[in-house]
């Protein structure tokens, strides 16, 4: 038993729903009790989808358990087929149905419906949402293409083709990333053969082998499918995630190599504003800002590279709830001289953020709330998302435009934070008063006090003398927390119990060498 307060991922059948609801002509029959229909609102409310997810629930009740729940599966499958006339059916179970062992998939397959019926076995007590999405995509491709698919001969002289795999409903900015990445491929002279599963039909699935390579755009969802297509059809796939200016260029080079085209013209003509904005002198204040990054592994690792090399931040924390990608995450973290945090325990992430005392948090909706509570600036970079992460405007995070979006959306909260810091610093001046809030906050907001964290109680027996504390206050606000941390570290290492003005300056000299 695992005590969970908030969960980053839903159960694996939610992953299957994400695949089904991303596609056209695919229907999912879910053997599940009343209540599991809550999942519909994720799609209709968070993404504001204008149609119900294509899911039929068997809705079994306690009184059915002694009777014929298997009959319910058959009836629901037949009724769903009659009503929706899908081109392919997914049939699976939610956590409770798994326990009653009706073998929903096998039952549905026995109905001999005239469309592919793909049974899904998604172990709800050991796996989670992203795994469920990856498994469903893989099973769906296998179900449609057959266990031993063949790759058609390509006529000589035809344009190279690529599939884009992985974008789904409820994924982070998938809708716009797909447009951005498709644009890059087309500019390279690569035809986009199929985008799977977002917007795809069953016919699109059948055309997958006609491409030269696959773009593994969201590995949490698409890696299994890409690996299978590589194994069974020899189709190579990309490994670079085009997030940030540098990674986008790397992606262009990689895709061009897979397609056998020349990336130079595109790289010479296209780019992002991020590199210049980052070099602009007003960005100097971003230097060494401590940033804590947590999300799915793909976005977290990619964001860390952007943060470190394109924003000039210091990555002070890097973590993910994607255990499947723990190895990649550990490697990336080691590159920043830190240890990766691999957990799906929200409270553990909160503790890690509190301990790291970052100036910016890049995370999911969960970290947004943690950061809000701690008074730290935050931008969302990964699912789980909420309604504000599905903006009306075009807002990719991949590709060259994506890099522009990253610059704006990560810097904006820091600028706002700066205004609040300034207000807090000047609050004793006569023009200001404690009640005045930052102009972007609603009237009545109070000035946040989190700018100057008091000496922590668990500082290990450390105390600040009155003169030391007063001297600390004279240090400019934007380096004050760092000075406090360094001084306390210095004092602890030397067994100093009371920090005086002298200790403060000795520490400054020590760390300034």
């Amino acid at each position: 038993m695992q005590l969970t307060l908030w969960t980053y991922e839903g159960p694996p059948h939610i992953g299957a729903m994400r695949i089904a609801s991303s596609m056209q002509g695919v229907h999912y029959v879910l053997h599940a009790p009343q209540g599991d229909t809550y999942a519909d609102l994720l799609f209709t409310m968070i993404e504001r989808q204008d149609r119900r997810p294509p899911v039929s629930y068997t809705t079994f009740q306690a009184r059915d358990l002694g009777g014929d729940t298997a009959g319910l599966v058959k009836d629901a499958t037949r009724a769903a087929f009659e009503r929706f006339r899908p081109d392919a059916l997914l049939v699976g179970e939610s956590c409770t149905a798994e326990l009653i062992q009706d073998q929903a998939g096998t039952l549905a397959a026995s109905l001999a419906l005239p469309v592919p019926v793909i049974p899904l076995e998604l172990p709800a007590y050991s796996k989670k949402e992203n795994w469920g999405a990856a498994e469903t995509l893989y099973q769906l491709l296998r179900g449609v293409l057959g266990a031993r698919p063949v790759r058609p001969e390509r006529a000589a002289g035809t344009k190279p083709r690529a599939n884009i795999l992985g974008p789904t409903r409820l994924g982070f900015r998938c809708r716009d990333d797909v447009r951005e990445v498709s644009g890059l491929l087309e500019e390279l002279g690569i035809e986009v053969n199929a985008i799977i599963p977002l917007g795809a039909t069953v016919e699109d699935l059948r055309r997958v082998p006609e491409a030269d390579f696959n773009v593994d755009l969201y590995p949490e969802v698409s890696r299994s499918a890409c690996a299978w297509l590589k194994r069974s059809l020899g189709m190579p796939h990309t490994s670079v995630i085009p997030m940030g200016a540098g990674a986008t260029r790397d992606f262009v080079v990689e895709a061009a190599a897979l397609a056998g085209v020349d990336p130079t013209p595109l790289l010479a003509s296209r780019g992002s504003r991020l590199p210049w904005y980052s070099r602009s002198v007003d960005s100097t204040y971003l230097t060494g800002k401590r940033v804590f990054i947590f999300g799915d592994a793909t976005h977290a690792i990619a964001a860390a590279r952007v943060a470190a090399t394109e924003m000039g931040f210091e990555v002070c924390g890097l973590g993910s709830y994607s255990r499947e990608f723990a190895r990649e995450l550990r490697e990336a973290a080691a590159g920043y001289g830190i240890e990766a945090l691999i957990t799906d325990d929200y409270l553990e992430v909160e503790r890690a953020i509190t301990a790291a005392a970052p100036e910016l948090v890049l995370g999911t909706q969960m970290e947004r709330h943690i950061a809000k509570r701690l008074g730290i600036a935050c931008a969302v970079i990964s699912s789980p998302i909420h309604v504000q992460d599905v903006p009306a405007r075009y807002s990719p995070v991949y590709g060259f435009e994506g890099a522009n979006v990253l610059f704006d959306s990560w810097i904006h909260p820091l600028m706002m934070g700066l205004e609040e810091h300034l207000l807090a610093m000047f609050r004793d001046d006569f023009e200001f008063h404690d009640g005045a809030a930052a102009s972007h906050l609603p009237a009545g907001s109070s000035v946040p006090q989190a700018t100057d964290s008091p000496a922590s109680a668990d500082a290990g027996g450390l105390a600040w003398s009155i003169d030391g504390e007063q001297e600390l206050r004279k240090i400019p606000f934007f380096v004050r927390n760092k000075a406090r941390r360094n001084t306390e570290l210095f004092a602890r290492e030397r067994g100093i119990q009371v920090i005086t003005t002298d200790t403060l300056y000795e520490a400054k000299a020590h760390f300034g060498r």
Binding site: W6, G10, Q34, G35, T37, T44, R52, T58, C95, K372
Partner: protein, 421 residues
């Protein structure tokens, strides 16, 4: 308005019963409002990742702080051996209570998986109570989807509390059903002015403060979905005062007058105490009536509040009822309400969501009350909707909230009228 103005019909009303896919929450959802009401209680669902995901999705927001609810997620290991599962549960509860010394009542909430594997939470709660009392009382109830619909979770939670209520045959009025604090205070003032007392509320703001129950207890149901709690109270000697629910002016007056009659309060005194509230509410309803009168209303089954809401919108705002769906029909709880519905309205029980949506599309009502999963898809078809979950999260009972309640239904129509995009 007084009771005399309410017509009384006893003939059986035909009901359409359907069975099929249900687009409703399960009883776990009640935790979202129950934990806010009882600020010393923690709700621990013993279930799956689906349960945890459901509650945080239904809550709509991921609340900033450490919440007073959580899920002990069953894993493969727990499924393999029930003895171990009990040990695991004890371990999780002990560490939870150690972390949260502010918790005085711990609810173990059963789920679909815990019931299918027959994990006995009642026995677990007794065992844990013996260990943690007097600091913490541990209770159990089922919020599982195989047994409960949405608001039935509250019924089961309150019924579990009734079992722990001390016995006393003294005279008291017991108001049953979760009410927002502001509404509870308004009712308390009205009861004080009427000279009705002592009054207890179940649930109270602190779960540890359980009301007594006995032959002198008279029960006023504040919510229509607490039938099992009502029956448990009856079994302990209490008597339920039959009344419509305190929604709208008419409902609130009828509800108060049921208590007033029992306490021998004169009609004149009731009229006088309620006069200001009735007048304020009637005036406040007027602008909403202009927007709602004559409009056709379809209620999908969801919160179990559909029948009293339909009565209010029909009788006080002149809306026309197309279909009134309810997840289940507990006649004992809604008889007084059913009598007030007009003849010819279709009352449906249970759900086959696809067939019901076919009826919605055929009827094209002006407003459909439904769950969050259906609202946007219906809007996309040009049908205005009102999400029913707001009815359990918003204070809607009593005179002062009557116009707020009407406003919930008027706003989607007003919005549609304003938009030219």
């Amino acid at each position: 308005m007084t009771l005399a103005a309410i017509p009384c019909r006893t003939e059986a009303r035909p009901v359409l019963r359907e069975r099929g896919q249900r687009e409703v929450f399960c009883g776990l959802t009640g935790i979202v409002w129950l934990h806010r009401k009882m600020q010393d209680a923690f709700f621990l669902v013993v279930g799956s990742r689906t349960c945890a995901h459901l509650i945080q999705s239904a809550a709509g927001v991921m609340i900033f702080a450490e919440p007073r609810f959580g899920t002990a997620i069953l894993t493969d290991r727990d499924l393999a051996g029930l003895a171990d599962a009990n040990d695991e549960l004890d371990r999780v509860c002990a560490s939870l209570l150690e972390r949260r010394p502010d918790i005085k009542t711990l609810f173990l909430v059963g789920s679909c998986p815990s019931e299918v594997i027959k994990l006995d939470l009642a026995t677990a709660a007794e065992r844990l109570s013996r260990r943690f009392l007097p600091q913490v009382r541990v209770l159990s109830y089922s919020g599982s989807g195989i047994e409960t619909t949405f608001t039935q979770g509250e019924d089961n939670a309150l019924r579990a509390m009734v079992e722990s209520c001390p016995h006393d045959d003294a005279r008291q009025l017991l108001v049953v059903g979760c009410l927002a604090d502001v509404v509870e205070d308004q009712f308390q003032r009205l009861f004080d002015q009427l000279g009705i007392g002592p009054v207890s509320f179940l649930p109270a703001r602190r779960a540890a403060e359980l009301p007594f129950v006995g032959s002198g207890t008279r029960v006023l149901m504040a919510q229509p979905f607490n039938g099992e709690t009502g029956r448990a109270l009856t079994a302990r000697g209490a008597r339920i005062l039959s009344a419509p629910y305190p929604l709208g002016v008419e409902g609130t007056t009828a509800w108060l007058s049921a208590a007033a009659r029992e306490w021998g309060i004169s009609q004149a005194s009731l009229d006088q105490v309620t006069l200001a509230g009735r007048e304020r509410a009637t005036a406040a309803l007027q602008p909403h009536r202009q927007k709602l009168a004559g409009r056709r209303l379809f209620l999908m089954p969801d919160s179990q509040l559909e029948i009293p809401i339909a009565r209010f919108l029909n009788r006080e705002l002149d809306m026309q009822l197309v279909e009134v769906g309810t997840p289940y029909l507990d006649r004992q709880m809604v008889d007084a309400e059913l009598d007030l519905l007009p003849d010819g309205v279709l009352v449906s029980e249970g759900q086959d969501v696809e067939r019901q949506l076919d009826r919605v599309r055929q009827e094209r009502p002006d407003l459909t009350v439904c769950g969050l999963g259906l609202a946007n898809p219906l809007e996309a078809e040009g049908l205005s909707t009102k999400w029913s979950i707001e009815l359990v999260f918003t204070p809607i009972q009593g005179y002062e909230q009557a116009a707020d309640l009407a406003g919930l239904f008027a706003r989607p129509l007003e919005r549609k009228a304003r938009l030219a995009v």
